[in-house]
């Protein structure tokens, strides 16, 4: 039997094995008759479709057909040889091995079914292959799984199907849950992905602000409203007597004075009681912790998203090998569905091509560098002058507003001068910068970064000037406070003349709370400033959009009929959507929110409203009155630039808040920290009073500078180390890239290796030429069948493994119809593999599309062996 097997493996099976098979088969015939019949029936069923679909030319089909035809042929042979028992038409036996084979095939078919949609075939082909595969699976699943196994299998399959469907539905549900997805897509389809990126940024901001809003409202404002002392119960929660008459006037409320000032929206309203309500909620503690966690959360989110962006940008290579190719093949935005956008896209592609060509041609020649340098220096000087001027203007205005605030009966303009000036600066400086930047003649991409940086500097300068002026204000107020403190004490003392003189403020005075003289409460003042700034910013933004975009668009559209020149093409034309300005505006607005939210907890609520309305309003404005950009601004490149700006702003807005918390004394008669020397003392107090003693001890040790400084040192060292590591990685990366580049050059020069195994390429090849590889597979199956009777399954498995491994031996066995098999057997096993690389690289021409490495099923080089 061993010899038999050897023969089976090495020599032509078709003739010899046919003869020994017949008697062997008979033994197994009875035992599996039923199954055999079933299978036979199936085989017959399949015969019909194969004939019908003969015209199909793809590989999968072909192999199927071949397989079946081969089987049928063999069956015929068998029938002839065992003609005596022709009644039992099929003598297929289903041994273990065959079952396994079938299983495998069924699995393959299933895989085929599940990946059908990924195949680059025509629908007709896909459908017919699918039908075939499904029929196959259905039949054989039934045949394979017997008894409970079958049921279990069916159940498993059903569950898998359900699971897939569920996943599909869930994905749909998830995408439907993303807010404004449709709106953004609409904008994207009209204006390209760059404008849409602003709205996506806006949506991201909205998400972040919603979380902050939940934090502040859930943990500070709502507990205070529900459990804190009610309005009017104490001086800080009451409108003073002098203001009461006008406290409800709209003009007063509009300035966030009156009742709004003495509400839970501002710092001053909160009481310094340690615990409130039946829950013993520690409000001052919560206020402090929420203030810190707002920054903590924001930092975390921004950094996380930056890291993700960085990951994404490094994931796809940034090598400049394919500038022109990418421009050629990927520059068209297939989302564009609007003729105007398409026109602009055509124009921008043309210009980008021209730019690249110019870059290419002028990469080494650089004439008149002196003039350009001079112009650049001049432009920078001009812009620095502008920045200084705007900074001084703001400082001046803030100073003036302080004098105004002391005067009575000031007009609306005087009261809102700061906000107006800042908004005007924000409106007129960016275009001015752009005009100046035209002098510099930078590459537009670099120019844009400069522009962003300058506007950022302008906004930042304005913001910090504003802050410094505010700080002056605060210091003045602090000085004033000392005076008021004494007055208050004396008033109270005077009032308590008869009663015991303890003089402490904590005892609730029977004096009406509205009459108690009180300090200026600088925290609330700061909060009000920020709220006002935010609100005026909102208004200016919206009015700018309304006037600058909508009214202008209406004017251009309708007056164009009776005007001496073409308004649409000529001077005013329609507005473009200013992505960089809008993003920067959003970033700065967020900075103000971060700074102000500690002193005005309600500010985040206002911001959430702002972002919400802004989403709808700007979407509408863009769709109704803007035209797409002439030069498409690549948003994807500057994501992290925006995020970096946001991070910078976050850090810068953290500084003043941290400074006030750590080094300014809180007001004595308002806010949750009144009566303490510094705001952070609330933590020490909590630790001392609410935690066991040893915690306080541990805390005091930890807070020791001797411990903090080494910790900081350690962190710095860690950062240094990690930085060094990442630099090393980067260098290695660059090295690898260089190597790849070199290899590419080499390949180019060699011009003889085409042996790539890309799955898609294989598919294409399969379309072009029938592959030998998969053809041999079914024949192996046949061979297996013949051998199965006198062979134990492990050996069979081994053989199969060998076949899969693709050693020349098994390849020779697989190529049953190849003309000279003997030659192949005699050659040493390694030779077959090495043959293509020996001596001449290309001994003979291959048929087109057939790569050398793939023809292993056939002896291509018989002359080598002999």
């Amino acid at each position: 039997q061993e010899k038999d097997k050897e023969e089976d493996e090495s020599k032509e099976e078709d003739s010899c094995s046919q003869q020994n098979r017949a008697p062997r088969k008979k033994n197994y015939q009875r035992s599996d008759e039923k199954k055999a019949e079933e299978e036979g029936g199936q085989q017959r069923d399949k015969k019909a479709p194969t004939k019908e679909q003969k015209e199909s030319e793809n590989k999968e089909r072909k192999t199927n057909k071949k397989e079946k035809e081969g089987e049928n042929k063999q069956k015929q042979d068998r029938k002839n040889s065992t003609s005596a028992s022709s009644n039992s038409s099929d003598e297929e036996s289903l041994s273990e091995e065959e079952l396994e084979m079938l299983m495998e095939e069924v699995e393959q078919k299933k895989k085929l079914i599940s990946t059908m949609r990924n195949k680059p075939w025509r629908m007709v082909k896909k459908l017919s292959v699918l039908r075939e595969a499904q029929a196959f699976v259905e039949k054989f699943e039934g045949a394979l799984g017997k008894g409970k196994g079958k049921k279990l299998y069916a159940y498993k399959m059903m569950m898998a199907k359900k699971w897939v469907k569920f996943k599909r539905d869930f994905d749909n549900f998830k995408t439907q849950c993303i807010p404004w997805e449709m709106k953004i897509k609409e904008v994207e389809s009209h204006f390209g992905s760059s404008v849409a990126s602003y709205f996506i940024f806006l949506r991201w901001m909205y998400g972040v602000n919603l979380v902050l809003f939940g934090l502040i409202f859930g943990l500070v404002i709502i507990p205070e409203v529900l459990m804190g002392m009610p309005y009017g119960s104490m001086p800080r929660k009451t409108v003073p007597r002098a203001e009461q008459a006008t406290a409800m006037d709209f003009s007063v409320l509009w300035d966030f004075e009156g009742y709004i000032k003495y509400s839970a929206l501002f710092y001053g309203y909160y009481n310094n009681q340690r615990t409130i309500g039946w829950l013993k909620y520690r409000l001052p503690m919560a206020y402090f912790m929420v203030g810190i966690s707002v920054f903590g959360y924001s930092l975390m989110v921004v950094i996380r998203s930056m890291a993700r962006n960085a990951n994404e940008s490094t994931a796809d290579g940034d090598d400049d090998n394919f500038i022109f190719s990418w421009k050629m093949f990927t520059s068209w935005d297939y989302l564009i569905g609007n003729p105007e956008t398409a026109d602009n896209k055509f124009a921008s592609i043309t210009t980008s091509f021209k730019e690249s060509i110019v870059d290419e041609q002028e990469s080494n020649k650089d004439e008149n560098i002196h003039l350009r340098r001079f112009l650049r220096v001049l432009a920078n000087v001009l812009i620095i002058c502008c920045l200084c001027g705007s900074g001084y203007l703001i400082y001046f205005v803030v100073k003036r507003s302080q004098t105004f605030s002391k005067m009575q009966n000031v007009g609306w303009y005087e009261r809102n001068e700061v906000e107006i000036v800042m908004s005007l600066l924000g409106m007129f400086c960016p275009p001015l910068f752009e005009t100046i930047a035209a002098l510099e003649n930078y590459h537009p991409r670099i120019g844009l970064k400069w522009q962003l940086g300058r506007i950022f500097a302008l906004f930042l300068g304005n913001l910090y000037t504003f802050l410094l002026a505010l700080m002056d204000d605060v210091n003045e107020k602090l000085a004033e406070e000392d005076v008021v403190k004494n007055i208050t004490r004396w008033t109270l003392l005077g009032h308590h003349n008869s009663s015991v003189e303890n003089g402490s403020i904590a005892t609730p005075p029977p004096l009406d709370p509205a009459d108690v003289p009180r300090g200026p409460c600088w925290e609330t003042t700061v909060g009000i400033e920020f709220v006002r700034l935010t609100v005026s910013d909102i208004l200016v933004t919206f009015i700018t959009i309304l006037v600058g975009d909508f009214i202008r668009a209406c004017f251009v559209r309708f007056v164009n009929y009776c005007w001496c020149w073409d308004l649409e093409a000529g001077f005013p034309s329609y507005a473009e959507f200013d992505i960089s300005g809008n993003v920067l505006g959003l970033v700065f607005n967020q900075g103000m929110i971060w700074m102000g939210s500690f002193y005005a907890p309600g500010l985040v609520g206002i911001n959430v409203l702002r972002l919400l309305t802004s989403m709808y309003f700007q979407c509408w404005a863009v769709m109704s009155s803007n035209v797409p950009h002439a030069r498409v601004f690549k948003a994807s490149k500057s994501n992290n630039f925006y995020m970096g700006l946001l991070l910078l702003i976050l850090f810068l807005s953290l500084l003043p808040v941290a400074y006030t918390i750590m080094s300014l004394p809180p007001s004595f008669d308002c806010g949750p920290f009144s009566g303490k020397k510094r705001m952070y003392e609330v933590i020490q107090e909590t630790i001392e009073l609410d935690f066991p003693l040893f915690v306080a001890k541990i805390f005091s040790y930890v807070a020791n500078p001797g411990l903090i400084i080494p910790a900081i040192l350690l962190m710095v060292l860690a950062i240094y180390y990690l930085n060094a590591v990442s630099e090393a990685y980067q260098r290695a990366n660059a090295e690898l890239k260089k190597k790849m580049q070199m290899q590419r050059e080499e390949e180019k020069n060699k011009r003889n290796n085409k042996a790539s195994t890309n799955p898609m390429l294989e598919d294409l090849e399969d379309l072009l030429t029938p592959s030998t590889k998969s053809e041999s597979q079914p024949k192996q199956a046949e061979v297996k069948k013949t051998e199965s009777s006198n062979r134990s399954s492990p050996v069979g498995k081994q053989g199969k493994a060998a076949a899969a491994g693709g050693s020349p031996m098994s390849g020779g066995r697989g190529a049953a119809f190849a003309p000279p098999p003997h030659v192949f057997v005699t050659q040493p096993p390694t030779l077959g593999v090495r043959a293509p690389y020996l001596g001449q690289p290309r001994p003979r021409g291959f048929p087109p599309g057939l790569v050398p490495g793939r023809g292993r099923g056939r002896p291509f080089y018989p002359h080598y062996a002999s």
């Binding site: 599940s114 059908m116 949609r117 990924n118 680059p120 025509r122 007709v124 459908l127 699918l130 994905d171 749909n172 998830k174 995408t175 439907q176 997805e181 449709m182 897509k185 389809s189 009209h190 992905s193 990126s197 996506i200 949506r203 994404e312 940008s313 796809d316 290579g317 940034d318 090598d319 394919f322 500038i323 022109f324 190719s325 990418w326 050629m328 093949f329 990927t330 520059s331 068209w332 935005d333 297939y334 989302l335 564009i336 569905g337 609007n338 398409a342 055509f346 592609i349 043309t350 091509f353 060509i357 948003a635 994807s636 180019k748 020069n749 011009r751 799955p759 898609m760 390429l761 294409l764």
Partner: protein
């Protein structure tokens, strides 16, 4: 089941679902889109597999395609006999490949076919010239076009045979940073772009067709 179900049999719908990236609903909506192009030609009953083809003029006038410089090529590549006329099967095929769920390889494969104007399985210089001219609407001079094509071949042609094979093309296109990226992920949030939303959109504004939805293909 709803009345729409009579268009296809259940088995047909299942088969289409296995062969495309669409759900049942989406397939039905796509059928509606197809039928809207020529209501008098397309029957409401597809159970008998009627051999209906729509001419390229109708297909090319769809809002998704009408501004695309390669619309003719797209239609030709996806049509059965290469003349741009489409059966429903071709139509579904096209949208399936162009949809956001289609994998990169598949898209790259079809992109190659689209850019291969003369169907010789290589993108040669004349194909490149045609591509550039279509992209720029003949705004570039002949020398510039020539330069660009030479540069492209220099950059992407690995085997140095003066034309781009599918392998070269994939090698180049897979590395493109923006290839498919707007579909995969938005810049600031990790949203998966929604096909549900797109298709809902279709339903909402069958009258006011604007915007190229589902054509998230080779982007920017």
């Amino acid at each position: 089941m709803g009345n729409k179900q009579t268009i296809f049999t259940q088995a047909q719908l299942d088969a289409y679902q296995d062969c495309t990236f669409f759900t049942r609903k989406e397939i039905l909506r796509l059928f509606d889109r197809y039928r809207d192009l020529a209501p008098q030609l397309v029957p409401l009953d597809y159970t008998g597999k009627p051999a209906v083809t729509l001419p390229y003029e109708l297909i090319g006038s769809m809002p998704e395609l009408k501004d695309n410089p390669f619309r003719q090529r797209i239609a030709e590549v996806f049509s059965e006999n290469g003349d741009g006329n489409m059966t429903l099967d071709d139509f579904l095929d096209m949208f399936s490949v162009l949809s956001e769920m289609a994998p990169r390889d598949l898209k790259a494969y079809y992109a190659f076919k689209i850019y291969d104007f003369n169907n010789d399985d290589y993108i040669c210089k004349s194909d490149l010239e045609k591509t550039v001219n279509k992209l720029t609407r003949n705004e570039l001079t002949a020398e510039e076009v020539n330069l660009v094509c030479d540069k492209v071949i220099y950059e992407a042609d690995v085997d140095n045979d003066g034309k781009l094979s599918l392998e070269d093309f994939q090698h180049m296109i897979i590395r493109a940073p923006d290839f498919l990226s707007p579909c995969r992920s938005s810049p600031f949030s990790d949203t998966v772009s929604s096909r549900g939303a797109h298709l809902q959109d279709w339903a909402n504004r069958s009258s006011k067709k604007c915007g190229a939805f589902l054509m998230c293909f080779l982007n920017l």
